[in-house]
Amino acid sequence: MRDNNLPANGGKGLAARGTGRGEGRIAVATEAVCADTFPKLLMRNARLFAGRPAYRHKDLGIWQVWTWAQVLDEVRAFSVGLQELGLARNDKVAIIGSNRPRLYWAMCAAQALGGVPVPIYADSVAEEMAYILDHAEVTIAVVEDQEQVDKLLSIVERLPRLVLIVYDEPRGLRDYDHQRLKWIDDVQKVGRDRLSAGAGRLQRWEAAVAAGRGEDLAVMLYTSGTTGRPKGVMLTFDNLIVSAINGNRFDSLGPDEEVVAYLPLAWVGDHVFSYAQPFTAGFCVNCPESPETVSEDRREIGTTYAFAPPRIYENLITLTMVRMEDAGRFKRHMFHYFLAVARRWGEKILNREKVPLHARLLYWFGERLMYGPLKNRLGVSRIRLAYTAGEAIGPEIFRFWRALGVNLKQLYGQTEASVYITAQPDGEIYADTVGRPNIGVDIKIDDNGEVLFKSPGVFAGYYKDPEKTAETKTPDGWVHTGDAGLIDTKSGHLKIIDRAKDVGRLNDGSLLAPKYIENKLKFYPNIREAVVYGDKRDFVCAMLNIDLTAVGNWAERNNIVYGSYQELAGHPQVYDMLAEHVEEVNRSLADEGMAGAQIRRFLVLHKELDADDGEITRTQKVRRAFVAQRYAPLIAALYGGAREADISTEVTFEDGRKGMLSARVKIRDVQTMPVPTMEKAA
């Protein structure tokens, strides 16, 4: 097989890229049918792609590489070690930490024995973890380092089922009581010793892998959910593997892709893009050195395929814009000139539309002088395909990336669907749609506007919660997404307006899609977060969070002195600036026939909305109702007509301690465009 001729990847594993792309894919397609679990896929990949890189991890400043054959060896040793330490079929194994190869391998090691990995958000506080660990009946936890071990030890008393904690990074843990604590290396050593002792141990392990079935439970992902306790979404191997293969086919993903794994392990997005897809397609997963070095690592690797929530794309643009403000006049001028060229022609060129020659020439110069260097800096020079999902992306942000020549596309998915519901095929890209149903997916729109889907990825159910399962999944297999949407008549694509339950009406009957307005506001680099209210009220009000990077930079340039976030947020000139933004949003709402939903009053919050305080979810979605409850005095003041209001809230610090934060928040009125009477009648 051609793949075997590839170099065996020393330190410079980046050089190893196969040419037999087509062959590989055919082989993958046929073999995937019999490899119906991840451990089976691993064994297949170890044969098919033996010498090709499977995982890279930057350690001590150098990229370390493991080939698929080496990964099989590591996973097998780990798996046998876990078995010796008591892991049995259907045991739940918590995985807590950042994206490190050995945590991904832990998932596979558990699955090989019929264990079920339960990834948990690493930045959860101990209390949140305790709930999931208890609810999922976790017996073994594989964690990254001392920080996570300490968290678990602080709640271990309440978790009688948890018998073993395995850690990846030994620093600081040497003097801990090791009765229920093991280093991965030691677990693997146990496994290796058993395997080398012979006595059919290897065959027994392989038999255990072979006993796995596609319909078995593969993973449980707890969704952070905007309301209530997290729910454990149960996904089978069939769900994940069929979805991943369909996803690979939809975008022609082969074994040559390079991805950087940096999203939370507990998010279905990461599970599919950094685990299911690489296992099915055979491409390489690159784990960053630390969460802070992701952008640098991405640059070094040159990812070809990326997936990120809109916020990441937004932040990169904000950062670029802020840095450009500090650049010299010549560079700034050039940047803005070519940005205008890109905005005008870039997307058309990317979509292979007809473009006049002079535009092509200008864009070519732009690519050499600005887009190329900028993309290189952002680490997207080699990118073939980038997805945004999780939330609606601002059209301007979306177009910015496409104008630069980055094939950014939208995708609509859910944990309950093993990600894929709809996606935009190449050449059919619109800023305001989320695309067509993926391969094997059916969608329909309910009478109340809610989107329903049916697909091979439909989850098995919520763990220990048949009631919620029945609420979400109809007996004939349709799943309620909870999102309101419509099919765009022109493109045939699905459009998501808002959460179905969030779409409201003002007292005068005007339609209000809060998220739609919030996204408009959040497009301004100065606004980090926006929460809009108005359902069953007389008019619309907004609470805003400033973006400290952008506004701080602006303050510096305008000689505005501030001592804290709170002071900057309350600064009158900041209010003036944001008032302008809000008025612009009002104008655009009026233009789009939503004049009734214009914002009349707004305020700037004295603190950032924070996941530790439960104000946003771990996936950065605002929990509107909770925020309203928490800031009730402010809402009352917004609608009561007061000029300012006092607020006192409890905040949770990073170490889990709590404190009180009080402030006096000012409220601003803003101009609205006149509401056409015709509109009201409609």
């Binding site: 600081g172 630390s290 610090f653």
Partner: protein, 266 residues
């Protein structure tokens, strides 16, 4: 979480003993007749109000000042007058109250500078940068990378330290001191000017250094919460005179200390 090794310290040998040391600048008595010891493996705090002579004491320990009177024993050998360079060779490293890094150099190069005393090859070999000199550099770089990993500063490895936020500069400075693989690490106000989160990070690093590398640490710090949590024993100075010495709980309840320092705002 303290390493259990902390509990053996009571019986541990003295790494450094200071006996009846006095230091004066002209008529100003900075330190008067102070005696104390630092035991191998412990975290020793030196506290006191402003102007109590804490930094002067550190400067005496690392040979920057020569005391007029008294005796210093380091690693069991009485020490004659020495220069900071010799103290560094002897295994004493320190950080400064005001960050004293090479601002124009990267974090990596700053920490590499801390390895200078470990380099065996001479100037010309290093200039040629081939064969043994290169091999040595690779080995030193690996050690430095371990420290970078230890202090979690991978993301600023190649950034000029002058551009870094204060908390990170402090961490790089700690890294440079660690690169010397010291027997005794002197930290002069490692947490001055830091916010709560940075202080917590730094506290954890200090404990980790102590537990992981087994380094003996003497630190000056104003944040009482930090001092009481971190240190095995605390020495209290006031106007150059030792007024208390003992485990944190003892010192905290000592009336002289409360009067001089803890109880009074300044």
């Amino acid at each position: 979480m303290r390493a259990p090794s902390g509990r053996d310290i009571a019986a541990g040998e003295a790494l450094l003993a200071v006996e009846n040391v006095s230091l004066a600048f002209g008529g100003v008595k900075a330190i008067s007749d102070v005696s104390f010891d630092i035991r191998r493996g412990e975290i020793r705090a030196i506290i006191g109000p402003n102007g109590a002579g804490k930094t002067s004491l550190l400067n005496v320990i690392n040979g920057f000042y020569q005391p007029q009177r008294g005796r210093i024993t380091f690693k069991g050998r009485p020490r004659s007058a020495m220069r900071p360079y010799e103290a560094a060779l002897g295994g004493i490293a320190r950080t400064f109250q005001n960050v004293a890094l090479f601002k124009g150099m990267t974090a990596l190069d700053n920490i590499m500078a801390g390895r200078a005393l470990k380099m065996r090859r001479g100037f010309f070999w290093q200039l040629l940068w081939i064969g043994p000199a290169l091999a040595e550099e690779i080995e030193q770089r690996r050690r430095v990378e371990e420290i970078i990993d230890f202090l979690k500063i991978q993301h600023v490895r190649k950034i000029q330290v002058g551009k870094l936020p204060y908390g990170l500069q402090k961490r790089v400075e700690l890294g440079r001191a660690l690169a010397m693989e010291p027997d005794l690490l002197l930290l002069d106000e490692p947490m001055a000017g830091m916010n709560l989160e940075e202080k917590e990070d730094m506290s954890r690093f200090i404990l980790d250094v102590n537990a992981y590398y087994g380094t003996t640490i003497a630190l000056i710090e104003h944040d009482m919460g930090v001092v009481m949590d971190l240190s095995d024993r605390v020495l209290v100075l006031d106007h150059g005179v030792k007024i208390a010495d003992g485990v944190p709980a003892e010192v905290q309840s000592n009336q002289a200390v409360i009067d001089a320092y803890l109880g009074l705002s300044h």
